[in-house]
Each structure stands twice: as C-alpha cells, then as structure tokens.
C-alpha cells in the first residue's frame, strides 16, 4: 500500500522510517526552509521528567519510547553512518525558586503515583546536588533528577532519518508545500504548490503547525497551537555538564545550549532581547561559571502544541486511511513512532491501543 506523508520533520520522518522498514511504499512531502520547522529549532531533549500529569498513558508511552531509543539510535547509525549523539545519563531540573520547585516535585509525585512503571525521580538539595554537579551556584536551591532521561543532537537525528528513509526507498519531495489534500474514490490526493499532484491509498498529515490548514480538509479538527521558545548557544567549552536539564545542556562539540522559555506569541518566531537576557541570567544563576562565556547565537522556534499538551493520533472516521498525527515531543517519541505508532498505522496485530490519544477527547 502506498503512503503519502505530509510533513518531513522528525514526526513525519519517524513514521516514514518505520514504514520503509516494513517495505511499504512511501512518499514524503517536505515543506520549505521558510516554514516553522520545529524539527530544526528544538532543544533535543529525550525527556520524561514532568510529563504525563493527568494522562498516565502519556507517561507510559514516553517511558516506552525512551527505552526504545538506544536500539533506535544504533540502528540509524548502522544504516546511515550518522551518529545522533544519544546520551541517556539522566536529566536534572534546577530550581532557584522555592514555589516552582515545590509545585514541580508535587507534579512528579502525582505522575509517579499514576504510573508506577515510570522511573523514580530523586530530589537533591543544594548540598547533595553540589556533590554530583559541583559547578552549581549558591542560588540553586536543589534539583530533581530523572534517571534515563537525556538528549540527542536533533539536527543529526533529522539528517539520519532523512537518509534512512531515502535508503529505505522512499521518495522525499523537498521545498514543496501541499496546497490541498482531497479524496477521490479510494485514493488520497495532495496538490503541491507547483500544481503537481501526488496520490496514495493512505495519507498521514504530520505537518506540525501546517496541519492546522491541512487536517480539516480531511475532516479532522486539526487544532495545533504554536508556543514560542527561544534558545541560545554559547561558544564551545570543555565537556563538564554530564546531565542535561530542561533549560541548560551541553552539546557534543562543547557549546552550552540554553532554552526553555514559553511565550504565547502566535506565529511570531523572532527572538527578543528581554527573553534572551532572562534565559542567560537564569543559566548564570545555575552555573555562575557561564558569566564570562560568549554567546554565539540566539533563535526562536515554535513548539507544536495540542490543546492539552498530549499527542493526537487519529484516523479519520469518514476517510479511512487518512491519519492526523501531531505531538509536542517529536524527538522523545521518535523511537516509538518508528515502531509502535507505525504498527498502529498499518493496523498490525502488534498495534497498541491509542484511543486515549484520539482527537475525540476534545469533543465535549
């Protein structure tokens, strides 16, 4: 069966990769460099800490994906020769504000209670933390640590997935926007901006923020919400940060990446000095040694959020074979998307129950 995937980011390509591994015929339409491209601007975390409050299935799904990541990364490296720089040594969240810390610990406690399979977080006070991360500053009250969390080089991942999909025999159309997607008989057709038409018996809409326009054409609600995050990167330093955090991590070639801002700015993807300086000053509070370090670049990118923050995996009721797939955590979930979500798409006997992630949960 031929599958047309609209969206050449990490989410669309993880599915394309899973499908080509099953010897399916796959065509991917990848938008242009001017699109919002969350896959090119993200922070690269593989993260369970703090996720799944109010949805234990999401916590389990996340945990399962993290457990699949080592073999996923190894398989990609073997196939493509590209090292995605995976490291899963555990993740820290550093706190300089008492209320934020208490609220966060309470949410970790609730997630753990609702999903006993999840990793057990540890709370470290300043003194305990100082023993394993001696570089922390006096303003750090403590940290929560989640074993098994980590990070990856998101650009290497995108490159490896593209290469893996290409080697798997899929065709990728680059720089092509889908203007319209429609059904004619048993086929789904996509009209590209150069008026070229592609058709397949299965269509997966995984176009990030672009899904807002495309998913309703197939009868989905298609609500995706942009949330702006800004990121900074410093000059390269010797490797000293073993554990990434939600706001500070050291990339493989030595730069310190700083991020974690959340702003509701609609589709505005420009960074601003105020946020850049807030992010930098938080990073210096946590690691005073960064004060004299040069900042090289800053940028903003738009997260692709759903209304409740959990993924949407939906097959159309009226257009069987048409799927709408979206999530915030495309990096963390890349491993499971390439395996279990792919099984669900093709409807194999190993297909998981994903009814929790149906779009119908938003119908009140």
């Amino acid at each position: 069966m031929k599958t047309l995937i609209i969206g050449g980011g990490v989410v669309g390509l993880s599915l394309a990769y899973g499908l080509t591994k099953r010897n399916e015929d796959v065509v991917v339409v990848c938008g242009s460099d001017e699109d919002y491209n969350a896959s090119r601007g993200n922070f690269g975390l593989i993260w369970s800490q703090g996720k799944g409050l109010g949805c234990p299935e999401y916590s389990q799904w996340t945990q399962k994906s993290i457990s699949l990541w080592p073999s996923f990364a190894e398989e990609l490296a073997k196939l493509t020769g590209i090292d995605v720089e995976l490291s899963l040594d555990g993740g820290m969240e550093y706190f300089t504000n008492k209320h934020e810390m208490e609220d966060f610990i309470e949410s970790l406690h609730k997630v753990k209670k609702s999903n006993s399979d999840s990793q057990t977080y540890k709370y470290l006070n300043h003194e305990q933390l100082k023993l394993c991360v001696p570089e922390i500053g006096p303003k750090v009250l403590g940290a929560t640590f989640m074993p098994g969390d980590g990070h990856v080089n998101p650009l290497q991942l995108l490159t490896a997935l593209r290469e893996g999909v290409r080697l798997g025999g899929a065709k990728i159309f680059n720089g092509s926007r889908v203007k319209r997607v429609y059904r004619s008989g048993d086929l789904y057709n996509a009209q590209l901006d150069d008026n070229k038409e592609l058709s397949a018996s299965r269509v997966i809409i995984a176009a990030g923020l672009g899904s807002a326009d495309l998913a309703p054409m197939m009868g989905f609600k298609g609500t995706v919400v942009p949330q702006q995050g800004q990121l900074l990167i410093t000059e390269k330093l010797p490797q000293f940060l073993k554990y990434p955090s939600g706001t500070i991590r050291q990339v493989n070639d030595g730069g310190i990446q700083i991020g974690g801002s959340t702003l509701d700015r609609g589709l505005d993807n420009k960074e601003c000095i105020k946020t850049v300086s807030e992010l930098a000053s938080h990073a210096v509070d946590v690691f005073p040694c960064l004060e004299e370090v040069n900042l090289l670049r800053s940028w903003a990118c738009l997260r692709v959020m759903t209304e409740d923050g959990f993924p949407i995996y939906q097959e159309s009721k009226t257009n069987p074979g048409a799927f709408f797939i979206t999530c915030h955590s495309g990096i963390t979930l890349a491993a499971i998307h390439s395996v279990l979500l792919t099984e669900w798409i093709v409807g194999s006997e190993r297909s998981p129950d994903l009814s929790m992630f149906s779009e119908e949960r938003f119908n009140v």
Partner: protein
Amino acid sequence: MFERININENQVDKLSFTFDGKVVSAYQGDTVAAALLGAGYKCFRETPVLGLNRNPYCMMGSCYDCLVSIGGRNVQSCMVECEQGMVVERVSHTKLTGIRPHEVS
C-alpha cells in the same frame, strides 16, 4: 609561511604586543590574527573538547577558529586590531570558567 607584500617599511608605524608572554611585532592596522600569522604562529589554540590544533581559517569573523583571549574574554583575533602593549593570551577555558572537565567518553 606568510610574508608581507609590497610594503614600504618606512611608511608604516610599528608596534608590539605580547602573545602568551612573548613579544610579537606588528604594523599599525594589522589584526591580531594577521600579526600572529605573520610572526609564524601555527597553532593559536586547541579545541576545548578534543584538544585539536586550530589556526585562523576564514579571516573574516565567521569561523571562530582564531579565538584568543584578550582582557579575559575569548575573542576572534581576526576581528581585533593590534594595539601597542596589548596583552593577548591563549584561550584557556579552564582558567576562564573554573570548569573542571569530566572525562570525555
């Protein structure tokens, strides 16, 4: 390795600065990178993670390979004009940040 072209020694102002404690002579208008290359330096710094030798590559502010430390900050030596008595040091991240690198696996 590098030599100056078509220059009338009598028409330029000369100055000197130090790199890692050693005196380097330069002409007014030289960038620090040009002066160091002219003085025969073949390695400006070592990369922070793998410790590989680095020299200027682009000479136009783009590649960051020519980093040196001036006044306690890491700067691109190709973007800084030499000044008389300037103290230029090799980049030392350990000194700069107090970082104790853990072993790179």
